[in-house]
Symmetry: C2
């Protein structure tokens, strides 16, 4: 019998677009039937909001509601073409700085896959704010587009610590960091170094680092080897969708986005407009997302009951939605509706699946903490010694490199010398230039022998280059505590 919880929680609910309202309704019905008292604040976001002229897709009232409740359950959102250039989903993550995207992938009973019986039970912890998702892009020339990949120590520390603490909380024994540090030594390399440093604080948890392409390879070869995987934003985007494919697809893929103050729970799948309003979509992904929500607000017992009821329902095979019927070669015409599946889960509250295919989450460890280890204070940064090394000047030019190179060298002045010119990161001057020109080059100027350039010298140098060339992008070359803060060009 459901016993109504004494706490009355406030939660923002965003029904969203397409099939969103149906699956959100399904989850709300189940939560109510499980006896959790929630005062839902319904809020808008997505297509209708964009069409009404709000280019963020997330109106003020919705932001206010989430600031109040600090927890949201969200259906999929669309960004209609021609309205607003940024995704409302990403805007929500950014506005509330939900830096940890958590995507469990585990084998489910009654969901046949090629990997059934192998015991997949992993969690992907994806950094959710930085990396290429900062969305800072510039056209350097009409035909050269540039995006910034940003990785910070603070952002890396937060997500990596989150992953280790999640492992402790769920009684998991291994955390794998997945990066491309072998190629991107400063950005992905920073993430890897922070991982290695933090791992020493968790002697009870096995820490390993694998290159992201190897992780993708291992996920299809032997996914059961993984426990917790922590990774940067784009890597995590790709491998979390990969992992959901191993265990039945997006219809079963739950997710939570956790920040310091706010958590937002959502199904991973899209709004599937062609199924909207037809009562046919599989609501499992959003129901399992709401289970994560319940655990987050301290309703662990109800979360366990709902999760067990979902697993028992899937295992029984008595309520099979269209997507699953299609995967199993069943009769799609006879498939269970969204509301029928919801009724079946409610009917199974109190039941547990017969087969326990995956480890059960353990009790939260009360000593879990997410405090930073590093000192991010003004004093800390002031104590780091810096030296000005030179300037990278990126420029657009139609000149052949054998003219461009000497022209750039000629304006170096007394304080600097032209170390070299690179095209798309490959050294092309001095020496033999190879490969295609894309009419965009990086001129690297470093301090001339015995000179110590100052900030003003950088501006003067840029001024001299600007007299002859159309510069598009400038980078200060620095060293920090004696280490160069930039990479050499390839083949230099």
């Amino acid at each position: 019998m459901p016993t109504t919880s004494p706490v009355r929680h406030r939660v923002t609910v965003i029904p969203g677009d397409g099939v969103g309202p149906e699956i959100v309704h399904s989850a709300m019905r189940i939560i109510e039937a499980a006896g959790v008292a929630i005062a839902w604040e319904e809020a808008a976001a997505g297509a209708a909001v964009f069409r009404a002229g709000d280019t963020s897709g997330v109106p003020r009232e919705t932001r206010d509601s989430i600031e109040r409740t600090r927890v949201a359950l969200k259906g999929p959102l669309e960004t209609p073409v021609g309205f607003g250039e940024k995704s409302a989903n990403v805007t929500l993550r950014k506005l509330f700085e939900t830096y940890a995207n958590v995507r469990p992938a585990r084998e489910l009973p009654g969901v046949p896959t090629r990997y059934a019986g192998e015991g997949i039970d992993l969690v992907i912890v994806r950094e959710n704010i930085e990396d290429l998702y900062a969305g800072i892009e510039h056209l350097e020339t009409p035909d050269v587009a540039q995006g910034l990949k940003l990785i910070t120590r603070k952002g890396s520390e937060k997500i990596i610590r989150y992953a280790f603490e999640l492992a402790r909380r769920e009684g998991r024994s291994k955390v794998t960091a997945a990066t491309k540090a072998n190629i991107m030594k400063l950005t992905e390399g920073l993430f890897k170094r922070v991982f290695e440093e933090l791992a020493t604080e968790y002697p009870g948890i096995r820490a390993e680092h694998l290159i992201i392409d190897n992780v993708a390879h291992q996920l299809v070869k032997d996914p059961a080897q993984f426990d917790v995987i922590v990774t940067t934003n784009l890597n995590g985007d790709i491998i979390s969708d990969l992992a959901s494919g191993l265990v039945g697809g997006l219809g079963f893929a739950a997710s939570g986005n956790y920040g310091d103050d706010v958590a937002i729970f959502e199904a991973v799948h899209g709004s599937a407009p062609k199924y909207a309003g037809k009562d046919v979509i599989n609501p499992t992904a959003l129901i399992l997302s709401s289970v994560m929500l319940l655990r987050h607000i301290g309703e662990g017992a109800a979360a366990d009951r709902i999760e067990d009821a979902v697993l028992a329902t899937l295992e029984s095979g008595a309520a099979v939605t269209q997507d699953l019927a299609r995967q199993t070669g069943g009769d799609v015409e006879q498939a269970t509706s969204t509301s029928g599946f919801t009724d079946a889960v409610i009917g199974n509250l109190g039941r547990a699946p017969m087969a326990t295919l995956a480890r059960r989450a353990r009790t939260p460890d009360p000593t879990a903490s997410r405090l930073p280890r590093w000192d991010y204070s003004v004093g800390h940064y002031a104590a780091i010694s810096r030296a000005l090394v030179g300037l990278d000047i990126m420029l657009e030019s139609d000149l052949p490199i054998e003219e461009l190179g000497p022209s750039l060298a000629a304006v170096a002045g007394d304080t600097f010398r032209l170390e070299g010119v690179a095209s798309r990161g490959t050294h092309v001057y001095p020496g033999e230039a190879v490969g295609d020109s894309v009419r965009w080059y990086t001129a690297r100027y470093v301090a001339a022998e015995g000179r110590e350039p100052r900030g003003r010298d950088l501006l003067d140098l840029l001024g001299r280059v600007a007299e002859h060339h159309r510069w598009t992008h400038v980078e200060r070359l620095q060293s920090f505590d004696g280490e160069l803060g930039y990479t050499a060009s390839q083949g230099a």
Copy 2:
């Protein structure tokens, strides 16, 4: 009986590190047994070269040899820690501008996988020069690392056309472009737009675009749906390793790197130092890479014979290397050696596999072409109208945003106004700032009402900002033919 080909080809061979010499020797023996006359020019690259003090890992003599022969067969190369910061593999690709990395993944007889019988036969065509592999990284502050993702129209055009022409050449019917254009509208978006434009030139080939995370998902859910996949560098890195995991692993993963003038063929796997010199490694990947080499130099008949012999050998199960024995639960102690497997393939020359699991490559289409469609001339670029819109100035600052913002606005001058300040791409000023500071901001200055800034104004603005703040990076904001060449910050 092998008939010796009348042509005597010159090919550079780089034995490489670890197991490299063994697998390269295996492929050379088989090619010789198949009757193709090759004058091999042996050349060095990798660990020993780095240790001898060459920071590129690729010595002059090796570069000269490849320039002469234009074709290379290469074992895996190591970049020993502490010597040279760039991978010799990447350096080779860059130096010879082998822009097309081609990675077939197809079901092999006798190699049991979860996907056996589904008929996987796809080719991943990965752009090999640009993207984050340009390797242009800067530390903006001690704790903020930045890498540049570069996508050019020319680079995109070359690889996309390569993919369509490969489809024609091999009689394939579909090309899928995989991008993250929904998030990175300028960079990945450029690749997608070029794909859509070029697709119209190939009416006989079905062209589709999928988001990269969906491609990763579909590759594990239903890989047989794919034919040719064309994608940017990092995406391609991840999904090509994923795809090789579907069909038996890296021991079977061949690859070719094609440029305008040079092609380099290599196994995908690493140097596996712990197996070096033990005669136990599976040479199939390098043998199949040498099959791609033979097709490239016009020895298609010999290539077919060797490929058939490899397939027949695998199918027979009579020569099972350690890696495969491990996968199939066979007796690793009794596994076939590298040289034993090589002997078996040579013994099977002239045989074909009984089951033809995958489509056979068709005759090259003599009309295949790779000429550019766009005009990359000086005149073309001169005709594009440009306007100077403003300046992004990235800077390091310990100030709280409510002080930093006004301070940046105060120096805008008459020509510019401060449009806003963003932190990691998210708008933080004016308005309410949310989220973590990483002490690094982007100040966006745009032309003040009615003003048309000139180049000199940019330098003056930067000078004014530099008086109060430590700028690290500057971007010229431009429009091209009336369209803004940069993205808005999130939540602005």
